[in-house]
Symmetry: C2
Subunit: 336 residues, 2 copies
């Protein structure tokens, strides 16, 4: 048996298809009695309106698209979870697309989304100004997430990397540390750059005498290990290390441990992200927690606002998701 259509319901309830449509949608313009008869017929026939037919005429898909760079790891799983939750709350479906190796693939994915979604959540390393100009349908509500670009032409949402980094530096300074090394993330990575900026700013404003000491890294554990070895060679030896992400902090701890250095007694260590394993390493890692799921939810909210108010100009709206300090053993704070 093929799926029932609105015609079948109309026949079953002995009314016109127009009445079926009215009864099942806003419910107005139909007597309660007729409406009930129609509903009965619909459920008897297990009628589900054909989404494509409805989309064709209403111009609404009730679906939003999320274009992500990758789906690897906890970060994206949390991000999608947050998006999904907020989308569901609005009765919207979620179409995901990821792992576009190059700008062409991302553009193709963007094109394929056209007509399938009412709005777009976009996080892509390829999404620079030219790319967006070229590939983004002009009338499609879009929210940029953590892309390198956050110009006045688009809505954007990002993590408060800067503020989070400042919190960490203030924490380390408050513990009396003065020589605080920063391990960088990959060059060209905006999150990493913002974290470094926060580090430099906080140091300059709260402890002008403390030098900014920056070591190279690329977010990998290995690069953290190598940075840890460099830390050991520095004279005078640093009090503390602040890595631009947790994995490098963990790598750095391994290097210090291999050299017989005690953390946090001899050197404090801290990271950024609060990955799940941060609490399980030895010693547990002090870090900055980012509410990834909230990033997703808020982006979805922002997108929802745009979709609901197509005439309101929201371009240029830029919001930030808070980052919080999570104090554990590795920074050497007295834990209450």
């Amino acid at each position: 048996m093929a799926a029932a259509t609105i015609k079948d319901v109309a026949r079953e309830a002995k009314v016109s298809v127009a009445s079926v449509s009215r009864a099942l949608n806003d419910g107005r313009g139909v007597t309660a009695e007729t409406s009930q008869r129609i509903r009965d017929a619909a459920s008897r026939l297990r009628y589900v309106p054909h989404a494509a037919a409805r989309t064709l005429i209403t111009r609404r898909t009730n679906t939003i698209g999320a274009l992500l760079p990758d789906l690897y790891g906890e970060f994206f799983s949390e991000l999608i979870r947050g998006i999904d939750l907020a989308a569901r709350a609005r009765g919207l479906h979620l179409l995901v697309s990821s792992s576009h190796d190059d700008a062409d693939a991302a553009a193709a994915a963007l094109r394929a989304m056209q007509g399938r979604v009412d709005g777009l959540l976009l996080m892509s390393p390829h999404a620079d100004a030219a790319f967006l100009q070229q590939n983004l349908p002009h009338d499609l509500p879009t929210v940029l997430m953590n892309t390198r670009l956050a110009g006045a032409d688009y809505c954007a949402l990002s993590v408060d990397n800067d503020g989070g980094a400042r919190l960490m530096v203030e924490h380390l300074l408050a513990l009396g540390h003065r020589r605080i090394v920063f391990i960088q993330g990959p060059s060209g990575n905006r999150d990493a750059a913002e974290r470094e900026l926060g580090y430099r700013e906080a140091l300059a404003s709260h402890s002008p005498d403390s030098p900014a000491i920056v070591l190279h890294g690329d977010f990998s554990e290995e690069s953290g290990y190598r940075a840890g070895q460099q830390v050991l060679a520095l004279r005078p030896r640093p009090d503390a290390v602040f890595a631009a992400n947790d994995m490098m902090a963990i790598g750095c701890m391994a290097a210090l441990r291999d050299a017989g250095i005690c953390v946090p007694e001899e050197i404090a260590i801290s990271g950024f992200d609060d990955v799940p394993m941060a609490r399980y390493v030895t010693p547990p890692l002090t870090t900055i927690q980012v509410h990834i799921a909230e990033l997703g939810s808020q982006a979805m909210e922002l997108l929802g606002e745009q979709i609901d108010n197509p005439d309101t100009v929201m371009a240029g709206t830029h919001r930030r998701v808070n980052a919080e300090l999570v104090v554990r053993v590795s920074s050497g704070a007295p834990l209450v």
Copy 2:
């Protein structure tokens, strides 16, 4: 400017819409010259066919739906990644829906997917026989993933929990351990039950004299810690612990460490899953690695086969994804 339609392209290329459709689809029934003119017009107008209109007539959405219980954690992120990769390879879009608190919510999600997808990947704790019978559109290709049920009526794909558990027991036996404790997962969880079965079978067949010693657990780290405390009280003391998942193994290690027991010198520990932090705990955890992404990809493949061959009866097809032994320090094996 509204998006261009097929009519606009037809006008621009001075042909009928029928020719545009033919040129842009199979390309047959049109001279090369006309075809080229149409393609030029289409790209000039940035024409993208309206997905809903096409779906309405072709009855194909080129989208598959994934109904998942939750999106929390590494497992689902890997699963979606695998699904997405395989879907993309087939030119299919991916619609995800998750976190259905009860059977009603799951049923609603299922209904909402109807007409939006060409096939369904289903992993849900609510999906028992009655639920599927009641809510699954009969003509929609579906693959069940790790649901409690894998009857002859559906296609299914699952992890070889049983085989994985056997591999682990054989590994521990080969190392000379004879009193091997098993920490259970939550009751009612099929994965957990299969892992326990594998443990019992391997023990019975390879070391009939070794007693099966089973402690309660629920997959949480805390329950692993409690089980670890129970292990300490057992007399004679066990040689080894095999936890039904990694988090419990990690909790158990913490309990042993707190009691001053050395792992693996005094007791070997092992888990199941190979979560990312398994390699970072001290000592690194011997475990069973499950290729989650592959689980997703294979499910997608199986679904693709069904979609491509609607007449072939594939109900009852049941495939399994391999699980592999990953030897690290915690089981006490001599590492080469």
